[in-house]
């Protein structure tokens, strides 16, 4: 008798379950009239956020001087060791990267290099079309990485910020730019 009652309870559960399944089937059927979630990619480009982590680039400051000072923090912080660079000093005392090599076949687009960079030089951009036909082409040199713009950080200039005017290193001043700020007092507690 108890088994029979249990059977009836199970049967009721089965019927309720069947009704919900039919409802699911109906709801899925109605999805035929909905808008597609996917894009037809090569024709329609996806709308990426400005902070999307795609192709890494080396940027220049507002004065057009390359920002990278070759400190090597990006290479240190990189979890997959895909960045290699060599620092060198010009006769004017200006630091720069003698070579800057980024192996895109290793890069995992974590963005730690961007966070570590003190001069906002290396930045990840919303460009994901990175395919190459030859594997060697995935190793990007400095001239491949360097762009002529400021990237995401439009106004920041490391050298202006620390008061070492770019002029004394021979860079041109852009029209309307202010004079270099006073040097930062690194001993004060104020920012």
């Amino acid at each position: 008798m108890r088994a029979l009652v249990q059977y009836c309870v199970n049967l009721k559960g089965l019927c309720v379950g069947a009704v919900t399944q039919v409802r699911t089937i109906g709801m899925v059927f109605l999805h035929a009239a909905r808008k597609r979630q996917t894009l037809l990619y090569p024709e329609e480009k996806p709308d990426l956020a400005p902070r999307y982590r795609g192709r890494p680039v080396l940027t220049r400051d507002p004065n057009g001087v390359e920002r990278c000072v070759g400190c090597g923090l990006c290479a240190v912080v990189c979890p997959v060791d895909c960045i290699a660079l060599q620092q060198e000093e010009r006769e004017s005392g200006q630091w720069f990267a003698k070579f800057f090599r980024l192996n895109m076949s290793r890069c995992v687009f974590c963005g730690l290099c961007e966070e570590a960079c003190p001069t906002s030089a290396i930045q990840l951009t919303p460009d994901f079309e990175l395919g190459e036909y030859r594997r060697e082409d995935l190793v990007l040199e400095k001239e491949d990485l360097l762009i002529s713009g400021t990237g995401k950080d439009h106004s920041y200039s490391f050298r202006t910020h620390i008061g070492r005017a770019s002029a004394e290193f021979g860079a041109q001043w852009a029209e309307g730019d202010d004079a270099p700020q006073s040097p930062v007092d690194t001993r004060s507690l104020l920012p």
Partner: protein
């Protein structure tokens, strides 16, 4: 003048013509079914995409119609590899059985009043026999692969197919009792005026579920269960041998759809005499093929013990009660008349 003017030839010419027409009909049905089965692979992906808010393959040709050609080219040029630890003869035999039984079962389906390969007076039983033999494809394929996942798939498939074939047959018996014949053409003709879906609704429900389970289609795809068994019994298959399993599965879907239409939805019968019978048959069968894809898109796979409990504890009594009531009503009506 020609051979056809000889009297002896003219005497046997009508017979020759009828034989040729018979073979022609068989070839029409064969190629129709195989081409439809192959195109199901495209239709399924497109329609699944439709129900999942995406596009599906739409690149090759207009609406992706030539995707099939691309797939066939790819599959034909794949290496025809047999694992060294496999039982070679059975490994090759299994996909042939999978596709062959399903296509053979199509022999008894009456497509239109004129078109249909054979009118067996045991048509329903022939379908059952072929469904029973189709188990061997899974069994041999899984055994010959020498793979533990394949063997797990076989274990599930043997139990599931045998259980569901029991009431696959029983659910058809109500229809057979109403028509008084195992011949599918007679069954279709017996539905003039009233399709079997109304008097045999529970038989239809049981047949639908059993049909899905017997061709191990989602959600009853326990033998292949990609997520648990990594494709189950055909895990070691690749290239055209795998393709034959695949086409066999799609032909199975078409077969079950055609059987449902024949048994419960009046086959080629339809309300408007302007519309040719073939169109009615194709429309109804296509609707059920789409319904199977819709079920795949929406219903999750039950656990293995749930599948067994559903079959033996609920659907078997349902079909038996349905058969008893059908018999009683037939006797009552027959007694009155």
């Amino acid at each position: 003048m020609s051979v056809f003017s000889l009297p002896a030839v003219q005497a046997i010419l009508p017979q020759l013509m009828s034989i040729a027409w018979g073979i022609g009909k068989a070839l029409i049905v064969l190629f129709g079914v195989v081409i439809c089965g192959a195109y199901m692979s495209l239709v399924e992906r497109r329609v699944l995409g439709l129900w999942q808010d995406r596009y599906g393959p739409n690149r090759v040709g207009p609406f992706g119609l030539f995707q099939l050609v691309a797939d066939m080219l790819k599959i034909f040029f794949k290496e025809d590899w047999i694992p060294p630890f496999a039982d070679k003869f059975l490994f090759v035999l299994a996909p042939l059985v999978a596709m062959g039984t399903m296509i053979l079962a199509f022999m008894v389906i009456p497509v239109t009043p004129d078109l249909g390969v054979a009118d067996l007076n045991i048509g329903v039983l022939f379908f059952m026999a072929m469904a029973g033999l189709a188990v061997y494809a899974v069994l041999l394929g899984g055994y010959a692969s020498g793979n533990k996942y394949a063997l797990l798939g076989v274990a599930r498939s043997a139990a599931q197919s045998l259980s569901y074939e029991v009431f696959l047959g029983l659910s058809m018996m109500g229809v057979v009792a109403r028509a008084g014949s195992f011949d599918l053409r007679t069954i279709v003709l017996s539905q003039q005026g009233l399709w079997n879906i109304i008097p045999q609704f529970f038989g239809f429900i049981a047949f639908l579920i059993a049909g899905i389970a017997v061709v191990h289609r989602h959600p009853f795809d326990q033998p292949e269960a990609e997520q648990e068994l990594a494709d189950g019994y055909h895990i070691e298959y690749g290239g055209m041998k795998w393709g034959m399993f695949f086409v066999g599965e799609y032909v199975g879907i078409i077969l079950i759809s055609a059987m449902i239409v024949t048994l419960f939805f009046g086959g080629w019968l339809g309300p408007f005499s302007v519309v040719p019978p073939f169109v009615w048959f194709a429309l109804k069968t296509g609707a059920f093929m789409l319904f199977f894809i819709l079920i795949r898109a929406s219903v999750p796979r039950p656990r293995y013990d749930q599948v067994m409990i559903l079959s033996w504890q609920y659907l078997l009594p349902l079909t038996l009660v349905n058969l008893i009531i059908t018999g009683a009503v037939l006797l009552w009506v027959g007694g009155a008349a």
